[in-house]
Symmetry: C2
Subunit: 351 residues, 2 copies
């Protein structure tokens, strides 16, 4: 992992400036495409080529189960993690529809689903264990498991970047994983679980109270150390969150943009940023979900979300919606005419 962290370099300021100069030569008032220009500029600077293109894209859905479901923190039964993983492989879930629409592949990674799939075509078996342990009673995983899950994510991103994927999106599946993610956000945000926990898949008041209590108890019992991101991940995280954190680091080390989905992916991104701050240059936000804990990520990153559709599904659904927008920014950068080539007059000189 340390090799990977050392390979993550900030994006060159000179490249960003030269990319902006190019954008300002295009037939539009300077800056008039707002955040679309920011996306194109950063993508161009990351790739370091004059006319960047977007080729292959993939959204990785990291899936795992959570021991904390014992506490009754979710509206759905635990077996839904397994059932939805199969739904992803069958192509019937929201992420399949949205990724197809974006021209992106969906890669489903079993990081720790509580089920023996046997030989299951299409499913990447990277299982660390049959789900985490109940964080409300002790550490969710061992430190060694957390490190192994991080390396798994790193290796996957490196492998796909090596195969020429230009954009990697993150996604998740795991009943109980908003509880784990909110616990991570509570630890790093220095806040109360009441402010970082949300209603996940849509729990009622009673379940919501149990969820907050479980998060509070997990932090009290385990005392995760915010100065040690792997400690936090091991004690109150999840295998899919660790996979996502590693995946972001692997993408950054491979100079490949990583598009981050909602709360769970944002919790993974917070771990990644705490491990290596400069990973931020490769991170592209997608949506603001309805989960309040996600704000800790935006604050740490220093970048706002791209849009807010009031979504709370996970799976990478927000990332899949953001990929075509990033791609639009890249095409603006590479395909528009310049004032000179199109024979269009520039701004009036000041009187």
């Amino acid at each position: 992992m340390h090799d990977t962290l050392n390979q993550i370099e900030p994006v060159s300021v000179a490249r960003l400036e030269s990319a902006q100069a190019h954008l300002d030569s295009l037939t539009k008032p300077p800056g008039s495409l707002g955040r679309l220009e920011e996306l194109g500029r950063r993508y161009a600077a990351i790739k370091g080529i004059r006319s960047p293109k977007v080729g292959k894209k993939a959204v990785f859905v990291f899936a795992a189960d959570h021991g904390v479901t014992e506490e009754g923190v979710s509206a759905y039964p635990r077996e839904v993690t397994r059932q939805m993983a199969l739904n992803f492989l069958d192509g019937g879930a929201a992420i399949n529809v949205l990724a197809r629409h974006a021209g992106a592949e969906v890669v489903v990674v079993d990081m720790g689903i509580d089920h023996d799939f046997g030989n299951c075509p299409g499913l990447l078996d990277r299982k660390i264990a049959m789900g985490t342990r109940n964080m409300a009673k002790g550490p969710a995983m061992t430190r060694e498991q957390a490190e192994r899950a991080l390396r798994t994510g790193i290796d996957l991103a490196r492998e796909w970047a090596g195969r020429g994927y230009d954009i990697l999106g993150t996604g998740d599946m795991g009943i109980g994983n908003t509880a784990a993610s909110s616990a991570i956000m509570t630890v790093f945000g220095g806040q109360d679980a009441r402010r970082t926990a949300g209603r996940g898949t849509g729990v009622n008041d009673e379940t919501f109270q149990r969820k907050i209590s479980a998060i509070e108890q997990a932090i009290q019992v385990n005392r995760p150390n915010p100065q040690d991101p792997v400690d936090v991940l091991a004690k109150v995280g999840g295998f899919e969150i660790a996979g996502i954190a590693g995946f972001i680091l692997g993408a950054a080390a491979s100079k490949t943009p990583a598009v981050i989905d909602g709360l769970i992916s944002s919790a993974g991104a917070v771990i990644a940023l705490k491990l290596k701050e400069t990973a931020r240059d490769y991170i592209f936000t997608s949506h603001r979900s309805t989960e309040p804990g996600q704000e800790v990520f935006f604050q740490l990153l220093g970048h706002p979300p791209l849009f807010d559709f009031g979504m709370r599904l996970g799976e990478g659904s927000g990332a899949a919606l953001a990929i075509p927008i990033l791609e639009a920014g890249v095409k603006i950068y590479s395909e528009m005419a310049t004032f000179q080539s199109a024979g269009v007059s520039q701004k009036n000189p000041p009187a």
Copy 2:
């Protein structure tokens, strides 16, 4: 025109409810895709079919010149309207890039550019006049011209809907047209021009003051009657704004979703809504631009924008970005598996 207005019917509430019931049977927590569900639901209800699809799409760029440029209200010279129209036909402008990305055609309509294009392949010649007159000194156009421009827009939308286009986006080009649009917004918003005017293509303080004065003067000189939308359009509008207003009405009468771009399209939409309130059911918002006057449209429509990228280009650029998002909502509606078909457990029953 009155036939068209009479044909605009509200979308059936029963159809909206049945569309929502279908969305709730899909493998996701109910409501978890937020505004994407709203888009799919309304599209399905408009089309009235079980598995709606999105076929052909087009963004119409209505272009015209403005007499108010005499007052020195823009950062760009008047000939940029003509130059950009040619850039659209050459495929080098932002709208070409973004429409191509969305799989939509770009249709450029000359509603009143101050130039004789002769035989110009690709340009739809619907010229009303060589630009409007200076609204700061008198009516921008005659009432007859305003009505003719409205009918032109209606006919274009009807024609394209008849050819099987499923989504029609609006766009504009016209140096000086943010001044006209802000004047319309000022009249209908009952506000001060200082609150509804923005910096358009990016004018400096001095030009901005001239722009505000020109809007104030136009309203003072012409006394447009907010109870009579055609009067407002004629006195302080523009030919492209009238074309857009008619286009939206024609789309609504043809039961075809109209995706609205930024300030200028929003001014056209306000005229359309003032002529026929039920047109709102066929109107889909795209972005919030940096122009403050656009808020009058969102208030009147009762729907917020879909996203805010800090854009201020026009041309239909925001509409082109929104079309793939609307399409994503439709695909969610038509392509996802149901809980039953995928064998996924539903929510835990309340304890």
